[in-house]
């Protein structure tokens, strides 16, 4: 087992108990998703105030809701196309709110350079999900690129808990740019290959 796999397996123990409680009380998964977003707004507020450790703790709580909603939906057999749509839209709210919190913080510190880094990281984080969604309307699957939402969230938490938000923003920015580029290249290659097949036949 890889070490990231081991960390994931350890984290699943408490999460299974929380999922069981939600299933027992038949809490609707869409409600869990919405609660997660509201808690993420609180994390963004803490980031804006520069209270990183508090923001980290709130992010952990918010992302528990974010993680379990799909699993609860499966257990309660409440999976629906709208649930998937609602989840992705709420994820964008959560993502953007955290970046806005940081932009507010850096602008209040009069650090235009980091306002720009946070704004660009936000742009490419949104484009990461947009390119995949748009690509998957043209090709079957577009799951290339490293910096997806779970990686971004864990990095935010590491940055908050260890007060290394500057380095984290650089990593998110550079790897998000690469992820968007990977997805554009992958889609271009897939579509070219598809167009080449009929010509060869």
């Amino acid at each position: 087992m890889t070490f990231t796999g081991l960390i994931g397996a350890i984290c699943m123990f408490p999460l299974r108990a929380i999922i069981a409680v939600c299933v027992r009380f038949r809490i609707h998964p869409n409600v869990l998703t919405f609660i997660g977003v509201l808690i993420n707004f609180a994390a963004a507020w803490a980031l804006a105030l520069g209270r990183f450790v508090l923001a980290g703790v709130v992010m952990v709580v918010a992302n528990i809701f974010d993680f379990i909603d799909g699993k609860v939906a499966r257990e309660l057999e409440m999976e629906s196309p709208f649930g998937g749509f609602w989840d992705s839209v709420m994820d964008r709210f959560s993502d953007i709110s955290l970046f806005i919190g940081l932009i507010y913080l850096y602008s209040s510190l009069r650090r235009t350079d980091y306002v720009m880094i946070a704004a660009l990281a936000m742009m490419f984080a949104i484009l990461t999900s947009y390119t995949r969604a748009r690509a998957e309307s043209l090709v079957e699957k577009c799951k290339v690129g490293f910096m997806e939402r779970p990686e971004r969230i864990v990095l935010f938490m590491i940055g908050a808990f260890t007060n290394r938000m500057g380095a984290v923003l650089w990593v998110i920015l550079i790897l998000s740019i690469l992820t968007v580029a990977d997805r554009i290249y992958f889609t271009w290659r897939e579509l070219n290959a598809r167009n080449a097949k009929p010509r060869m036949a």
Binding site: M1, T2, F3, T4, G5, G8, G50, F52, L105, Y106, L109, R111, D113, Y114, V144, G145, F146, P150, L155, I158, G159, T162, N163, R164, M165, G166, A167, V168, W170, V171, L175, L178, T179, D182, Y185
Partner: protein
């Protein structure tokens, strides 16, 4: 056909840039370690981090060996 000695490092760089690996693979672990090393070892002063300061572990090592 013989492979150029540059083929392996260039392929490694290309595989890191054009990422197609799943989570929980050894390649993913290597990437995670590289990211954590950058985040925790890079002196905040080098990045002009607005909320953190100091030279970090790399700075301490440089200071120690001077």
């Amino acid at each position: 056909m013989t492979q150029s000695p540059l083929t392996v490092p260039l392929r490694a760089i290309w595989n890191a840039l054009y990422w197609t690996h799943e989570r929980a693979t050894w390649q993913y672990d290597v990437m995670v370690i590289a990211i954590l090393a950058f985040v925790w070892l890079t002196p905040p002063d080098w990045l002009r981090d607005p909320t953190a300061s100091g030279s970090g572990p790399i700075g301490w090592l440089i200071h120690f060996f001077r």
